[in-house]
Symmetry: C2
Subunit: 359 residues, 2 copies
Amino acid sequence: MASTDHGGGEEVIRNKQVFLNDYVSGFPEESNLYLTTSSIKLKVPEDQSGKDAVLLKNLYLSCDPFMRGRMQRDLPPDRPELSSYSLGSPIVGFGVGRVVDSRHSDFKKGDLVWGSTIGWEEYSLIPNPEDLFKINHTDDIPLSYYTGILGMPGMTAYFCFFDIGSPKEGDRVYVSAASGAIGQLVGQFAKLIGCYVVGSAGSKEKVELLKTKFGYDDAFNYKEEHDLDAALKRCFPEGIDIYFDNVGGKMLDAVLVNMRLHGRIAVCGMISQYNLEQPESVQNLSAVFYKQIRMEGFAVYEHYHRYSKFLDFVLPCIKEGKIVYVEDITEGLESGPAALVGLFSGRNVGKQVVKVAQE
Amino acid sequence: MASTDHGGGEEVIRNKQVFLNDYVSGFPEESNLYLTTSSIKLKVPEDQSGKDAVLLKNLYLSCDPFMRGRMQRDLPPDRPELSSYSLGSPIVGFGVGRVVDSRHSDFKKGDLVWGSTIGWEEYSLIPNPEDLFKINHTDDIPLSYYTGILGMPGMTAYFCFFDIGSPKEGDRVYVSAASGAIGQLVGQFAKLIGCYVVGSAGSKEKVELLKTKFGYDDAFNYKEEHDLDAALKRCFPEGIDIYFDNVGGKMLDAVLVNMRLHGRIAVCGMISQYNLEQPESVQNLSAVFYKQIRMEGFAVYEHYHRYSKFLDFVLPCIKEGKIVYVEDITEGLESGPAALVGLFSGRNVGKQVVKVAQE
């Protein structure tokens, strides 16, 4: 990587970055994103603009479905972490980085961090690093896990499933997008407490993974089922207690008919709907009334303060081999755009990560 | 009323009854029901068939939307209180009666009771009176209230609103079918704890009632709003915290768009859907995810064990004039069929009751 030293240790280096071309409607394509190169000083600015900032060397970037939302024009500004991307800056998401310079008292050079405000670039200046999590556990644990099982998707799976699903032994649990970053964990959490768990995914390979790797009791390829209601009745002849919804739309509609009395629907995502101009309609919502179903949406950012509680649970599970995690790691920022848009056609197998640099 | 004494005190009396002609699809009509007259001994049978039974003289019968469900053919038998009516017996619902004879140790002649298993007839033999509630409070309280504010609709309004709605002072509450048996109470409960409350109803007269009698802060006639979303935005420029849903369908769809973050939707009924062959579809369910809405269906029969707690709250409210209740009482069993089907065109103003006999 070319670099120039301007004297005084202020090394200037090339910084590859990924920008959004224009706002997206419908399915995103690789051509909606482009790679460019700017330059960056490997030092936090010494003037007011760098006060309390840190400079990160980015190691892993996370591809997450919610990023599709931010590619849309004119999102309401009330939640900055879900607002429209600026076309004038690299896109932003979850990632893992190493501090290369810091003017913040909580961070020092060499610290490893993860967070939600990492630019899709080789180096990021983070003006408000308070939102970053410091990484304290790295023994025998891949650093990339902090974009997945030990990061946002892990917390989402854990708190959404346990808080909203209220699972207990023997419950019949259905998970859609079940081999994804979140789904693969929900299935394993459910098995840990003795639930009967069925997952759906979009390929034969993923269905095999569900049954052989993640311990799902049963699984089906939703793309090969012309009648989702029949597929669910086959897997759940006595109905579903908990539906962990990652997809929304038609699948949710079919699930509603198959819920049991007092069933819970934990709405974690609706990936099938993100790229539609008009959302799919739901016909069977009256089941909520007839079966006293509880349905609730989940936002992980409201649970970040419980991160250490989550780690206390999940780190031992990983170390004891009780929980496994499958990642789909692509190499190099150049391959990031394809990896990101691939989420929406289900190209990834497991958690999609972009490796930007060697640890 | 003609009666015959066969000696031994076994008075036989004519018993007018309301039967269902045939199972209903679509909107029920008066002609779906017919009146007939049988005869009944004014004594609980002394053989095994009368063991533990009571004989009631029915005073008030309650017209409730759920009865439309029971007019349908082939309902699943898992919940007898919601199963299809038998064409060979009078229809059954909530009502108030006086015990005229009893072979059950908990009931004696003269007791007043209310319950969910009262036939639409002048006298009912109740083989399992355990499900009846004894009426202990009658001072200055109309007996008909036990079909409404002091009965099933009262408990529904109270437990559904407080349990699922989790209201607190300042919450913005929207109630549909707001002048009905349940809605009029929800609005008043919400005002008692300092909520801002808006209701909708289907006539100018009802809208006036909401504002002048029940203390709603605002109200609108949904039949005169061509754009429900606009009506809700006008009444709730900052959105809705709690929606008490009595109607489902299009209104629910419009509400979803106008819910606030962490809003609650208490699904108490879906009267707009009961008569449709195909339920109306809902487009905006993704709001549950984006706004972390909690939506839950309610069934009052699961809360009957809390009846005395409810009475402790509501009886003083009535006596102190803090809560009022508007009933629409029609006289005579003959007028029952019209009153019952009138629910579905909104003919009633307030709780629809049929007075069968003088107290």
